[in-house]
Amino acid sequence: MDLQTIGTILLQVAVGGLSLGVLYAIIALGYTMVYGVLQLINFAHSEVFIAGGIVGYFVFEALKDASLNGYLKLIVACLAAMFVSGGLNVLIERLAYRPLRGAQRLVPLITAIGVSLVLQDSLRFLVGVRGLFDLSVNLPKGFTNSITTFLGVNISLLNLQVKDIILIGVAGLMMLGLNLLVNHTRMGRAMRAVAHDRQTSGLMGINSDSIISLTFLIGGALGGLGGVMFAMKYQALNAYSGTIPGMKAFTAAVLGGIGNIPGAMLGGLVLGWVETFLGVVSLFQGIPGLHWLGAIKAEYKDLGAFLALILILFFKPAGLLGKATTEKV
């Protein structure tokens, strides 16, 4: 195996891992925002996210024959998904989490697992009565075209498609927007205040209930957007396909330090790269001394996420960017 092949594979991993990683990062943002404010793992987020993907599927399906620009269709799909997922998340918070404020920590966590199961089957039902189960997404023309040149360089070997570029671009915009919102607006300051100390922020005139609802709205909307991106990337989904990416995105959030927005992005990227790398690592068995890599089949790439998680938590219990918390007694 010559150097150029290795280089190409590594470059491919870098780009493929980037587009996977930002997808995880988008989903992870929803987890991390809710966790930051409520210290709750919102297990239902993976269903909120896949609900967005399903909305995206139906929008693409409805606009299939409309003579609209593909990007306009994508924007419509994204907006619809953000609206539905955000609303869904707020609804979940109202019905299932708000009555449990101040309960022991395990209680809302188990509720969240329950909500996620209920949503999975409800989504299955809503989609299923139309006789559908596995949805295959028809993207607007042009999205699946391969990109052959970048700044005049031939990159056809990289197997990069237009949709990957869209995904990376959308993710970048989203993170930028979220960063602005949280760190540079009045609303963001209120959110941070509630996250820091709900009671004291209440004394300062912040209505913590509405801030929490708002957090769920934004987290859900991000999840919905992530869902459309997921549908675009894989072009196949069903009511249950949110679980695994949801788990991984949560892993990404923990990896980066849960409750920390840049951490979620970093965790997502690390995970995306680790996973993509493990997916192709068996190709390196041709290199002398590395033949044992052949045993690492592509199926084991899913293990990478959790092994990375355990490893990182072992050395940095609060995650990569997380700050160690001291228990108040």
Binding site: A103, L106, I110, G114, D121, L303, F306
Partner: protein
Amino acid sequence: MTTAPVRPNPLKTRPVGGDRTWLLLAYTAISGLLLVFMRDLVADGPMKMLQPVLFGGFLLSLLFAYQWKAAPWAKMLVFAAAIVFVLPFMGRSNTSYFDLMIQMMIFSALALGLNIVVGLAGLLDLGYIAFFAVGAYLWGIFGSPQFAEVTGNPAFANGINPAYFWLFIPLAVAAAAGVGVLIGLPVLKLKGDYLAIVTLGLGEVIRIFANNLSVTNGPQGIDAIESAPVPWLNSLAHTLGFAEDQYRLFFLYILVLGVIAVTIVVNQRLDRSKIGRAWIAIREDEVAAQAMGVPLLKTKLLAFATGASFAGAMGVIFAAKQAFIDPKSFDYFQSIGVMSMVILGGMGNIPGVILGAIVVTMLNLMVLPTLSEVLQSSFPNINQNLDPSKYQRLIFGLVLVFMMLYRPEGLLPSERRKHEMHSDDEHPAVDSITTENLNHGGELGGHLRDGSGAETRSPGLATRRDNERTGSEK
């Protein structure tokens, strides 16, 4: 007889003298009905729904018998009759009942194991089924033709000698406990939420391995798993009129009964032991427990390994019962299923956990399949996606959510707590709120009503509560 009036709901009222006649009569009536009708109701059509109803009624009658304040001998008689006579008799006339009952007991033991981890020690383990898989695959590989495939030795065409089954139960206990310690060591230092995600990951890791390793035969699973040979039980079964293909189930029924008995005793002992109190202390307040000298990591690890070892042993039995295992039986959803059993029944309470396991298993394996069968035979053109048996997740989810919202202590709160709640009828309202709040025994959700109940606490009540607790905690 007794002077106390017999009221309609035995769950709520407790006749002082104990009314064994009514208990025995009601019990005989229900099991008689069951035995008479069960054979003839195998027919198709809407009448088939009577099967789960009757069977459920029978199991419910056992619960009533348990709750009824009758003389102990009457209760024992009822339970012994059910276990020795009614259930095997039903199993003989319809093998699927045998299957269902063994499955119920396997899940009961699993739920009791998880109860130690979540209910006593408060560690949320979302990958519990992984330990079950360890046990199941351990026996599955050795006790089936798969062993010949792995070793390449045709002498093992039927796996190793099935008599080694007995050796594999302790082996699986050790293996599962070992995996528990291995996974627990790096993560149990972390906070509860992190533990949840790591255990979730562990479950996923085990599933991926089961799916891809050649030892486990990947997604095709392992077939023709043996079970231990017990000639004298087989001849006993023969004498009792069981068909030859039911011998295995008969043996497993007896075995599982024994295992359940052991599990219950171990659970009870642990609950009242020093280590059990240490677990409860950790669940209630880690920092305080540590300050009182409880070694945090060691105690948590012990809980984790103990729960895992139960699952390992049950895995061996599960593999022997199913004779076939594949990775699908051990996914995340199954872990949640076991957890919903624990929560539905009453976390931390042994009869409650068993009740939860029975209700959930029955729902999954009997009520829903029968319902969809009936639906399909009555409306042949119905949409496949409306099939009720496809909505297990919905039911599990609703169980989890509603229990957490409205009854976090479970269907069957522990006897001690109920006693506390009903012992004093002078000001029942105040009493029930405060005692539930304060004497929750730290069940999950013990602090749920802290906000609403806070103002009803008073020094006087608190003192009396302390006396009560010492009185009932002999």
